[in-house]
Amino acid sequence: MSRYKFNTQYKAVVIGGSAGSFQGITRILQALPSDFDLPIIMALHRLKHVRNGFEEALSIKSVKPVTEPFDKEQIKRGKVYLAPANYHMSVELGNTFALSTEEMVNNSRPSIDITLETAAYVYSTKLVGILLSGANKDGAWGMKKIKDRGGLTIVQEPSECMIDTMPTSALKITPIDHILKIDQIIEFLNELHKHTKQ
């Protein structure tokens, strides 16, 4: 029996992160089972005006290539997606991405809240949300939305974060299911993988 609350067949994993999350993300992507079947949708704060390089940097050690989707691109199983620079990335009904250049949210574009909230709306209970290290509160509201709609929520253990503002902001506004270190998040994703395969 898993110690995690898997009460459904999940459809996607969303990950939010900012300052101090790059190393954690890299470790997670490096340790993914090669046949991990759920789409992983990442909204990470990044330099607004550097269009290239981040996707490549994350892909180097990742088990799967990381891609920045185009507007209206279909979300496919087994793929790893990254919100492109200077665009918000929403999950749209019909399982596609929708990009936008709207105002910054929480001083950020891409905004983690936007990706998390729209994913929560589309996937409701069938979504896992993971929020990592970061220096502002972007993502907290999105985690609340995931929780409100019955999804599974995880934040990185604040003591392990380089800057813990992001996970602690989420913990303040919503009950989070699991508070985990990166190693445990990796373990969790492996368990989730087994659960998905069943």
Binding site: H49, R51, E68, P69, F70, D71, K72, E73, P84, N86, Y87, S90, V91, E92, L93, A98, L99, S100, T101, E102, E103, I114, T118, Y121
Partner: protein, 274 residues
Amino acid sequence: MQDIEISDLRRITELIKETYNYDFTNYAMSSFKRRILRILELYKFGSVDLLIKRLKEDRAFFEEFLAELTVNVTEMFRDPSFWRELRDQIIPNILLNHNTISIWHAGCSSGEEVFSMAILLKEMGILDRSKIIATDIDKVILQRARSGVYALKNMELNEKNYIRYQGTSSLSNYFKEENGKAVMDKSLVEHVSFREHDLVQGMVFNKFDLILCRNVMIYFNQTLQNTVLKKLHESLFKYGYLIIGSKESLIWCEISNKFIVVNNEEKIYKKIKD
């Protein structure tokens, strides 16, 4: 923040269509919903019903509503590498075959892109041989584009973009500071025609060598993207260029085979078939 249902959004689009003859039915759902939520908050409407009531009764409010509904976040020289490509490859190519160049900014918003274009053309010495038409659905924002007055704090980013674009001057040579605002040099756009035009319901009105429609169609669903792309195609001369936003794609549009990709990184397409 409250949440709203798809049925609420439908009621709003139906009312707008009936009363004002704008069609938002096929706008992308996620961003359209956020725009409506933003307006509900901005004007402190307690419910969608109150917004609908106001829209029904107050024609002047509709103009404000339209201005808030459309996304007007833009920069000068956004994606500097694109502007370099335009200057070094695309425009010289157009000028190989004719003396003048006609350009349409479809969805010009507050005009930053129009000023960028005018600066580019001026530095190439061909501004007086260019015919530019800039259109937007929103009257209020067109007025701002025409006036060329921008928040001073935005100029820092614009200047950075201009430096990365590697212009031959300095952006500060193209504007003056007045009352804490950046006032653009009006001579740059004296021959630009700013017009109200709705890409969704508007007619094809001219033919162009070059159309810029960057980060506009992302607010439409795929059905509407197809419709609008057909109009853009029709508005181009054969071998004319269409430029869309860096993360937009024509791949899944019905008439994508009537274009070839000239530069995939900068999303520059060329019309090869009528």
